[in-house]
Amino acid sequence: MASLRLAGLKKSFGAVDIIKGVNLEIKDGEFVVFVGPSGCGKSTLLRMIAGLEDISGGELYIGDRLCNEVQPRERGIAMVFQSYALYPHMTVYDNMGFGLSLNKTPKPELDARVREAARILKMEHLLERKPSQLSGGQRQRVAIGRAIVRKPGVFLFDEPLSNLDAALRVDMRMELAKLHRDLGATMIYVTHDQIEAMTLADKIVVLDGGLVQQVGSPMELYKNPANKFVAGFIGAPKMNFLPVKVQSVAGDTAMVASDTMSPIPVKGRGFSVGDPAWLGIRPQFLKPGPPTDGEGALRGRIALVERLGTETIIAVDTAENERVVAAIPVDVELAFGDAAEFQFNPQAAHLFH
């Protein structure tokens, strides 16, 4: 088991900077999720930790050891690839035991460890098969089993569930959470799916453009996003952003308004009078009906209604042609083109530069 410290970690491919200085502390036994849009450098950062990519700048500590120049095999890590990367010519048993057989682990110990991993993942009956004889989910298990057998201090996962179908993904997510509880190892998990991040992580690291945007627990990120990017990335449906102007500032609170919205007080620091700003409202905080005292109001015409059973997603186009989405926990009788009015509590809104 191991903690990690990333200090000013940088990576460039030729003249292109991909990772632009990442600072991060990961505690022993933590489940950390790197999340961000495609191409933001998540995999690159993970591969730098694994030792598959050279580090262009900064320092990587695994435990107390500086690991910039250490070979992958000596870092005490194991990695699960998106493509599974199983050796096609070996049985499941040999795939899982490959690492141990390379460092000449005695046969009985190898056998015990492979069988233990197979037992944990409930795939004892698959040990003699070749990867080509397995389903996608089973291959994923073998890839995870191969990591478990190595007893690493740090597990690295690169989008391990993205090749599975939706139902299987939910099952595997729960199994991974259980695996983390049972093994207690440090896990770093890369995904572009914020739901996976929210459900699995002790700590989420939101990346964009090769920089850390915010680090925190899932609820911290949900409740107090540090910037507009994080606010838009975490939570589904996506947070609504409306352009507003700051009219007055009093302490931590700014009065904001737009042409179609009367002034409301919203928490926000570092704004001054006249600043343009973005008012962020999560779809779940919009309620149908006219505002009562002090609440914000939004009006428009219904553009889309999606009835999911547990909730109804309503898209509304405002008079300024802004698309606003509301998620309502009941089924409402609204149809395309109807006029609609929503109210929201200003305390639940966010303000961004």
């Binding site: 030792g51 095999r73 990695m79 690839f81 199983l86 050796y87 460092n103 004889q133």
Partner: protein, 289 residues
Amino acid sequence: MNKITEVVPFLAPVQILILSVIVIPSFYVVWLSLHASSFGQSATFVGLQNYIKVLTDPAFLLALGNTVLIVIFAVHLELALGLGMALLFASGLPCRRVLLVAVLAPYAVSEVIAVAMWRFLFDPDVGPVTAMLTWLGLPMLDWSFEPSHALIMIGLLTIWLHLPFTFIILYAARLAIPKDLYEAARIDGAKPFDAFRRVTIPLLGPAIVVALLFRYIFAFRIFSEVWLMTQGGPARSTEVVAVYLYQEAFSFNAFGTAAATAWIMVLASLLLATGYVFLLRKQVAGNAH
């Protein structure tokens, strides 16, 4: 029924072509191999006499020995070279495109031109390579005089000519191995040689067998390299089976024994092919992709 009569005229040209250039000549050669025949005399049936004659002819046995030597040394050396080069190319060589063209070029060169080139390069008196070997203090290849040197020369030439074939098969197969597997192996603790032995070689297995099979058969039929270089000389000492056949047929006009030799070659090739197809099947079934 109607369908078949409509289709037959369209297929007929192919059938006629195959029948007339492959099937009928093969049977004619079988017939010929069972008869004694030469110019100006009618063929007389001799049973398996021709086969016995060929198989006990010291010249044939020498030719067979030479052929087997070339097959064993040239093909395996070529495989090792081709594999080494395929791995070198796959490991991200600089200027790969230019080098690829250079490596593949011999395949585009006609054998006749290749031999003319080599004869000049290795000429015992004026050849630049000979001059270089002498300058380096190495023994020169006296291929026009010394039979063993001539065989070495022929072996080198056939490797040079066919290396592109072996190389391209192995290179394509190597490129088909996903990069992830090597990364997974590195994380599993494989040093480069472990990855080569436990990942690359098993996954290249089928391609290696295919390359070997084809090259065994090609090499067993080797003719132009020998004929153009030494014509089997000096004193029939560098003859290979195909040259022996040619001599029987066109120098000694013994068509019966030439036909028998031809069938012996076909059977030997089939034997090689069957063995390797069997091996290949076993491997493919083992890998079950």
